[in-house]
Amino acid sequence: MIRDAVRMAWRSLRANRIRSLLTMLGIIVGIAAVIAVVSIGEGGKDAILGQFREIGANQFLLEVTDRRSGDTLVTPEDLELLRSGLDGLEAVSALQQRLGLTRKARPDGRESTEGYAIVAAIDPWYTDILALETIAGRQFTDSDHHQGTPVILVSESTAEALYGTTDAVGRDLDLTLSNYRLQARVVGVVRTLSGSLQSEYGQMADAGMMERVPGELFIPLATLERLEGRPDGYVMLMAASTGPENTGEVAERLTAFLRRRHPEATGNSYRVVVIADILEQVDTVIGYITAFIAVVAGISLVVGGIGVMNIMLVSVTERTREIGIRRAVGARTRDILAQILAEAMVLTFIGGVLGVVLGLVFTYIVTRIVGFSMVFDPRVIVLAVLFSSAVGLFFGLYPARRAARLDPIEALRHE
């Protein structure tokens, strides 16, 4: 019986192909939008969070935000005390960032190009927190860290930009940091996982005038201190707890320790950023955006559903006589109800399937352009098709009941 109803529905929809297609359009667009938004959203989340996830969930940053009290709210002594034993603290590293002007001789020896780059001066503990994978050459040695040798590590993209090759070991780089000039030698090319972190702790405005050198440059902290002198304090710490479960706790303990050491610190002198929290926030924000667009798409589905209802009402009126004939030969009210409902549901089901296909095609194109990986969740597809069918059920109910309630005699008389 159900199969017959569906077959009948299919035939009557085919008989009015253009009308059926136009009616489906609202559903198709709505479902396609939902599929595209959810899939692209998932892909985007993966793209943004993927590298953070690799870094790990047990890391946090501490920034000194109160610059009036000078840079003395985290002193080198504080760090030594922290390293000698804060419960749950795996490693802590002081980090200095500078905007560096790069000047390098071109192969022809005459011209030199200039650009600016973010240079991170790192201490030996940095690599306990963020791994620097060696692609070529070596990492900083203990003697680099102790003596402040003029050596430099560059990321692949930096090497590519500066030297046109990732094989940059042994090249020289003329670097201007603040007022100091550093003639450094590239000793290693590294791959970092912290690329996206730059924006988090860097926050350096684009100078606009010069070309920005992509990627990252590292020098030993000692090298920077040889130029600038040993600072009274630091404004940026990177730290890792012994496990992801106690990160928040350790971050609080560390802050409390610093407050005890520096009673002059005010309520918001220290800012702690837990990487896991960033992940969560990004996740939440993307979730909100996805939900918002999904709601908009849902509205378009409702509008599509109203279109379906409208067309089904027209169709019922047009086929009053047919309904009368069917009633005369023995169709019960529920048979007529089933027929019209089946028609509405087949309409929205096909609309849903077409919408899924369109949405996936759109997602594929967008992810190819943006460079996200295409995340494909079959549950979303099943849900979308089920939902569009439910739209048909809901909006088909009123026309179907109207059809079922037609008086057979009146219906037979209808021209």
């Binding site: 009557s12 009633r327 023995g330 019960r332």
Partner: protein
Amino acid sequence: MTSSPGPLISLRRAGKIYQSGRVRFEALREIDLEVAAGDYLAILGPSGSGKSTLMNIIGCLDRLTSGSYLFEGDDVSGLTDDGLALLRNRRIGFVFQSFNLLPRLDILENVELPLIYQGVSRRERRERAMAQLETVGLADWRRHLPTEISGGQKQRVAIARALVTRPGLLLADEPTGNLDSRSAADIMEVLETIHAAGRTVLLITHDPGVAARARRQVHIIDGRLTETPVGRPLT
């Protein structure tokens, strides 16, 4: 066919009143009518006489407002809409003046239609509808649409559709009203064959010539019934 002891159709003091707002119209008054199984009865009356109402009542498309109607001995007035639909589906075949074939279905599917509502399997439907189409000589036209055949052929298809469920009663409402005289004669012959095969046929018409072909006739005028003995000349 069930072998019920009583008459197939039994109407007692049957009345039908249409009330719409303050307008009251008495379509049927005190109708007494019995039709035995295997009979061939014509109900003759001019338009507005109440014959369509009577046919709707007998065909279980409508209910009486007074009196009783027994079909195969069972009181129909107590049935729900779906009960009436079931009765129409199993026990009554309709033939209409305007054929009432579904224009989008082909001939065979039109004949299958009542069987869909019996839940008969697709294959059995096909077979039974084909067999029925053969009896009206239209098996070769099974894939044609109703718009592609003549009026006489349409009415044959309608008859096949009415008989495919093997009903106890064939109810024909002006079956020749839309046909030329040759097709009309043809359809009348088909009805006679059906009657000869043992089926009860009830014919509703305004045409005395058509009514004369039945074994028995009743007249309806202003909602009242009078029986006319066969053979008596009609005015």
